[in-house]
């Protein structure tokens, strides 16, 4: 099923972070799935042929990924049903899916080709929306780029690629470089080119040009550029960033990280000169986070806490995704100013793990919380169980129509390869 309706409820967690626990955003048929539908038998054949061709053409080839079969059920509010022009009562909506995620790396002489893509088959069980037995097949290319390494100090990459710049855990001011489709969990790269200048193991400067909007509109003013510099002085990182698009984005930023005992402190701050396209109205964006890791012989834990100040949000200025720009010039497509994010991950031996995370709107008190438990059955196969829930009054961000489910459960089997 491919419901073209885009509702605010499908916005990803900030900074493309997946739903708590590093799992994808719920993919219920009621969470409209607008993955590109250029899916055909060709996509399936491509998935099968890539590894075979690679072994012949590349000097070295590596594939890693997973095959996941998943059953989900969401308990949705009547508000959402009404939005969908359907019967207005709370209801449970189940579906099932099979997803193949794969990253291929073809190693050639002084170059590397990377293809990261997903193929998903969904069989929703919503009788009044789809024909019983109907399935949808969707193929999505997250990254596909050629990395050239002509000199030890120079990398050039061409194609769809993702650059994980910045210091924060949930978002970076440089995320504006990437498209942020409303319904995806944020792995999609930008279409363009990047150049990395390496000044040894502790210093690098990167430049990038994103062309996805300009290619769509045919307007060179929609070209977006960014720069990022990072330097390590012993264990302290210092960095600077800049994102630019004519009359739309002018965003200088700084960042840093420093270990203090067992805790890593990170922070990033930027000023967006444009409040809205063409209007100069400087607004700050910043995040400050702490990470703590602890490992014993039997278990280990990772704790992350982050505060986010989203100066781009303003009741008067915040707009849902516009057709012209893929990310509304934001990089942080949430509507309030202050948020808190937390993530607690625990791994016990080699048998099971659990994670709990959430995003809290500090202004209206609403929250989006997720929990997961994964059990390692045998080598390479995980059984998982998870659920996400929302809290808050009906007029809040996470309690309102933007997040229409009260509770969303998932069970899955994942085979890693």
């Amino acid at each position: 099923m491919n419901n073209p309706t885009v509702t605010p409820g499908n916005r990803p967690i900030p900074g493309n972070r997946p739903i708590p626990g590093n799992r994808p955003t719920p993919n219920s048929p009621l969470m409209p799935d607008s993955w590109p539908t250029r899916t055909s038998a060709a996509a399936v054949i491509l998935c099968l042929l890539l590894p075979a061709c690679a072994r012949i053409s590349a000097q070295e080839y590596e594939i890693l990924g997973s095959l996941t079969t998943e059953a989900t059920a969401g308990y949705f509010s009547d508000t959402y049903a009404l939005l969908q022009d359907r019967s207005g009562s709370d209801r449970v909506e189940p579906d099932a899916s099979l997803t193949l995620d794969a990253t291929h790396r073809f190693f050639l002489d002084r170059s590397e080709l990377v293809v990261d893509h997903s193929l998903r088959v969904v069989r929703p069980d919503v009788p009044d929306v789809v024909t019983p037995g109907e399935v949808s097949v969707a193929h999505h290319v997250n990254q596909s780029y050629l990395l050239l390494m002509p000199a030890p100090w120079l990398n050039v990459s061409l194609g769809r690629q993702r650059l994980n710049w910045g210091a924060g855990f949930t978002f970076s001011s440089t995320d504006a470089l990437h498209p942020q489709p409303a319904d995806r969990d944020g792995d999609t790269g930008f279409d363009g080119a990047a150049v990395t200048l390496l000044g040894g193991p502790d210093f690098s400067v990167e430049l990038a040009l994103a062309m996805q909007d300009a290619l769509t509109t045919g307007d060179v003013r929609d070209l977006r550029t960014a720069a990022f510099a990072s330097a390590y002085v012993r264990t302290v990182e210092l960095g600077a960033s800049f994102v630019y698009q004519e009359d739309n984005i002018y965003r200088p930023g700084v960042l840093g990280s420093i270990p203090v005992g067992p805790v890593l402190l990170v922070g990033e701050a930027a000023i967006e000169v444009f409040g809205e396209p063409g209007v100069a109205e400087p607004r700050p964006i910043m995040n400050a986070a702490a990470e703590y890791t602890y490992a014993t012989d039997r278990w280990n834990a990772i704790l992350v806490g982050e505060y986010i100040f989203n100066g781009l949000a303003d009741d008067a200025l915040f707009r849902p995704v516009t057709p012209r720009l893929t990310d509304n010039a934001g990089g942080f497509a949430f509507e309030s100013v202050q948020y808190a994010f937390f993530d607690v991950s625990l791994v016990f031996g080699s048998d099971w793990s659990t994670s709990h995370s959430g995003l809290v709107n500090l202004e209206d008190g609403s929250a989006l919380i997720g929990h997961e438990v994964a059990l390692l059955v045998f080598d390479g196969v995980d059984l998982g169980l998870g659920f996400a829930w929302t809290g808050g009054a009906g007029d809040t961000e996470f309690g309102g129509e933007a997040y229409p489910y009260h509770l969303y459960g998932r069970a899955w089997v994942e085979v890693h390869f």
């Binding site: 969990d185 390496l198 012993r234 990182e237 490992a295 080598d379």
Partner: protein, 252 residues
């Protein structure tokens, strides 16, 4: 009488000089122990098997690249669940990035914590150098029973932490007098508690020298727990690119 006293003096002086000649410089011994374990810069494939009482044994295969002064970069090849996971040792920290997790940042791991549930610490896995963190002293000469070499004469070297950031308070190393081959090590916490010991076996010609290729690290805190590292491949390399050790490249 004067003549006899003179002879005694000469004999004693000769013994002192001879002793001084045969007792090597401790820091040089530590350097040579390092060289016996790994070349200065290298690539290696290692298999790490961990068995702990009450837990399912685990096995991990790692490709490791180390460049002197730049760091260590490791990629997990097995098990499939962890394949592709990358580690970068910089200064005293080990950074971990899992491309499967969807995370945008690498996680910083404490050097003293357990490496992936093994008996080895993160620093043991990522930093093959001792001499930058420890000051060596020769504290004795003992015979050690080794399964391949039999009873063998060893220098006992005590490596004491130079600074607070060092993983261990001290390490006592046993290396053969003949060729400074490390055979046995004891690891002490900063409190002085002996809590790990490592045996080195399977001496083989690899990467231009005879080296121990099997390391068994035992925990004394968790009785019966051990990790066995087998070096399956090792090659001295002086052409490893710096990009491999650049932290900004770790998350690509």
């Amino acid at each position: 009488m004067i003549l006899r006293t003179g002879w005694v003096f000469v004999l004693v002086a000769t013994a002192i000089v001879a002793g001084a000649q045969t007792q090597p410089d401790p820091q040089s011994v530590l350097d040579q122990i390092e060289e016996r374990l790994f070349p200065e810069s290298f690539t290696a494939t290692m298999r790490m098997y961990t068995d702990k009482p009450g837990q399912r044994p685990t096995e991990m295969v790692l490709d490791s690249s180390h460049r002197e002064g730049a760091g260590t970069f490791m990629v997990v090849q097995a098990p499939s669940r962890s394949r592709g996971m990358r580690f970068l040792q910089k200064e005293d920290d080990l950074w971990m990035y899992n491309p499967r997790s969807g995370s945008r940042r690498a996680i910083r791991l404490s050097p003293r914590d357990s490496f992936q549930g093994s008996v080895f610490s993160n620093n043991d896995a990522g930093d093959p150098d001792y001499s930058d963190d420890y000051t060596a002293e020769l504290i004795g000469r003992e015979r050690l029973a080794h399964p391949e070499l039999g009873s063998v004469d060893c220098w006992v070297v005590e490596a004491t932490a130079r600074h607070e950031r060092a993983t261990y308070g001290r390490i006592v190393m046993y290396a053969t007098v003949e060729d400074l081959m490390p055979l046995f090590m004891e690891y002490y916490a900063k409190s002085g508690l002996l809590f790990k010991r490592m045996y080195l076996f399977e001496l083989k010609q690899i990467a231009g020298a005879i080296r121990p290729t099997v390391w068994r690290m035992e925990s004394l805190e968790q009785v019966g727990a051990y990790t066995l590292v087998t070096i399956e491949a090792l090659e001295a390399r002086d052409d490893l690119p710096e990009r491999l050790f650049n932290q900004a490249q770790l998350t690509r």
